[in-house]
């Protein structure tokens, strides 16, 4: 159900590692829980991120949620389309709804994240709670 080529965090971010860069977004589960996204706050190009620190926030009609960086790195691109079309996160969370691209400080950091299977079990475990 969750793309197998991605890695996941407990805070519902996904990471796609491409050699030394990593693309970050929020999962389909996260966008469904939040509902219609109406505003996105993203870092600036060149900003340095530390793993587990706030990267930005997404706002829906229900709530504002912080997005945490799954890994450390420097921002090399942000998805500027989201300023006008935040709904891309709802319609295509793993594609056009990506948030930020980082140049990874240490690609090994991603090893601590969850696989698609682990994340699915994690989400189901939470729902059963």
């Amino acid at each position: 159900m969750y793309p197998v080529e991605l890695q996941y965090t407990k805070d519902h971010e996904w990471l796609r590692v491409d050699e030394s860069t990593g693309t970050i977004g929020i999962t389909d589960h996260a966008q469904k829980e939040l509902g219609d996204i109406v505003y996105v706050e993203l870092p600036k190009d060149g900003e340095r991120m530390t793993a587990k620190e706030t990267l930005g926030s997404v706002e829906s009609v229900k709530a504002v949620s912080d997005v945490y960086s799954p890994v450390s790195g420097q921002v090399v691109a942000v998805n500027s389309k989201l300023q006008d079309k935040p709904e891309l996160i709802n319609t295509d969370p793993y594609g056009e709804g990506w948030l930020v691209r980082l140049r990874l400080t240490d690609p090994r950091e991603a090893e601590g994240l969850m696989s698609s299977e682990e994340y699915e079990a994690y989400v189901q475990g939470k729902a059963a709670h």
Binding site: E33, D36, V38, Y39, E59, V61, K62, A63, V64, S65, P86, E87, H129
Partner: protein, 498 residues
């Protein structure tokens, strides 16, 4: 019950008719006043005052008659839904009755007309009102000193955190972080960030309370304090509060209590006894000062003795000679947080409420608030999921998870409640409950009213089973039906244009 569907727009009764903007009621040449003909020589304002001081036509100003203005605003006023209209179970907001005696007292001439710059000698009565209000709030919380300055809850939080910072700085180092549980009101992290601290979130445990082991790990000597709402936003009392306070104090941190939910404690428990060092109260919630329409609010802060020097300045003092005065001679104060003595009129109303009830009455109020919430919980728990089943105090939080299976979420049920004549409960908060339905009936609701609310909720659950569309498209009986909240947030239209 007959289904309440939208009547055809052409057949709406006059009283439920939608109302045009006053600009749309305008007709050229219409005026609200009929002035007598001039009986003195006409003068030219431009000549007498200078042309640059004369304003020309105000473009687009509505031209309407006096009666049209009166009817327009009178009709609009009937659109309000307030605590004076019916049950308002908006969780976390404590929408309780504002007794009329408060308003009588606040309108006494000496209270209502005193100038804020009047010298202390001419303001003895009002200074005493402030002094007594602070004294009563100190007794209710068990704390040693109170400032009435903060204008509302969030400003009370900011004031409290700034005092923690000032105190720790005096002790050598202000530290870096403040701990906040994930069930907190959103204003808590905001107050902390504005005070120059980093926020660290603590996850709640399966009982909906703060997790002691998580607190133990997080509580280091870099942590300035813990900000805790008691009872928390699930309406659950932190039964480990004494141990929590010990853990925080052992590392030299301070315990801040968000008193937003004091309606569950007044007259029954004093936060000072839990180990709280500083807290705020919401007079516009717990102490029956007006809450809707902008209040204004009032968020007094109460502190233990060692924090008193940092309270905002001035404080009302009672001198040796029996006179009351504003004491500005407070070197360690964090300074002023609000003009004059805060929202004075709210202190007057809160004091009227406290004195009218007395200790016994306040205790009864709290017990009734808790009883009402538990009655609702008991009578709805077979229909809605209860994600945290620890005992409830003044409010209960269900989840929409069973109804979500039919595609109906908390917001849909809330909107359908409007058709039944009730103000919705709080939706989607606290964030730790997906699809939260937060119900706080307060002590003001009678059993008959609670029963009507419960019947409405039960009826809606049946509708979800039989005809989910009816709920998904609600409300049907209002002037304006379901709004597109997403479009309103994504592409807000903030200005009317002809």
């Amino acid at each position: 019950m007959a289904k309440m569907l939208k009547p055809p727009s052409s057949a709406r009764p006059h009283i439920t008719r939608n109302e045009d903007l006053i600009f749309e009621l305008s007709a050229p040449g219409k005026v609200g006043a009929d002035l007598a003909p001039l009986d003195v020589p006409a003068a030219s304002a431009a000549e007498e005052l200078g042309a640059e001081l004369v304003r020309g036509e105000i473009e687009g100003f509505p031209e309407v008659s006096e009666l049209e203005v009166i009817r327009h605003f009178t009709r609009l006023s009937t659109w309000n839904y307030g605590v004076d209209t019916g049950l308002y179970p908006l969780g976390s907001c404590t929408m309780k009755y504002n007794p009329r005696v408060n308003e009588v007292v606040a309108r006494l001439e000496g209270v209502a007309t005193l100038h804020p710059y009047a010298p202390d000698e001419l303001a003895q009565g009002c200074l005493r009102v402030l002094y007594e209000t602070a004294r009563c709030l100190a007794e209710i919380t068990g704390m040693d000193a109170v400032s009435l300055q903060p204008a509302a809850g969030a400003q009370g939080e900011l004031t409290g955190i700034l005092m923690i910072r000032a105190h720790l700085a005096d002790r050598g180092h202000p530290r870096k972080t403040i701990l906040i549980p994930d069930s907190a009101h959103g204003t808590n992290p905001a107050s902390v960030a504005i005070s120059g601290y980093e926020v660290r979130n603590l996850k709640s445990n399966a009982r909906g309370c703060l997790d002691l082991s998580e607190l133990g790990r997080a509580m280091t000597e870099d942590v300035a304090g813990l900000m805790l709402t008691i009872p928390n936003t699930l309406g659950i009392f932190e039964t480990d509060i004494r141990k929590i306070a010990e853990l925080v104090h052992a590392k030299g941190g301070l315990l801040y209590m968000d008193g937003a939910n004091m309606n569950a404690l007044v007259g029954v428990a004093q936060p000072a006894a839990f180990g709280v060092d500083v807290m705020h109260l919401n007079l516009h919630k717990t102490f029956t000062t007006p809450h809707g329409g902008g209040g204004p609010g009032s968020g007094p802060v109460a502190v233990r003795k060692f924090l008193e020097p940092y309270l905002p300045s001035p404080l009302v003092a009672h001198g040796q000679d029996g006179r009351y005065f504003l004491d500005f001679d407070r070197a360690k104060s964090i300074g002023r947080v609000r003009s004059f003595c805060g929202n004075f009129g709210m202190a007057v109303r809160a004091l009227a409420y406290i004195l009218a009830n007395g200790a016994e009455g306040l205790r009864q109020t709290t017990e009734d608030a808790v009883l009402n919430a538990n009655y609702v919980r008991e009578r709805l728990k077979d229909l809605f999921a209860l994600p945290y089943d620890s005992p409830s105090l003044h409010e209960c939080v269900f989840s929409d998870s069973r109804q979500a299976a039919k595609g109906v979420r908390t917001g849909d049920i809330a909107k359908r409640l409007i058709d039944y004549g009730f103000h919705p409960y709080t939706t989607s908060f606290p964030l730790i409950v997906p699809g939260a339905m937060m119900i706080e009936p307060t002590e003001s609701a009678s059993k008959a009213e609670l029963d009507a609310f419960i019947e409405a909720m039960r009826s809606i659950v049946q509708e979800v089973e039989e005809d989910a569309e009816l709920v998904l498209k609600a409300p049907h009986t209002t002037r304006v039906t379901r709004l597109d909240e997403t479009a309103a947030a994504r592409k807000p239209v903030l200005r009317w244009k002809p």
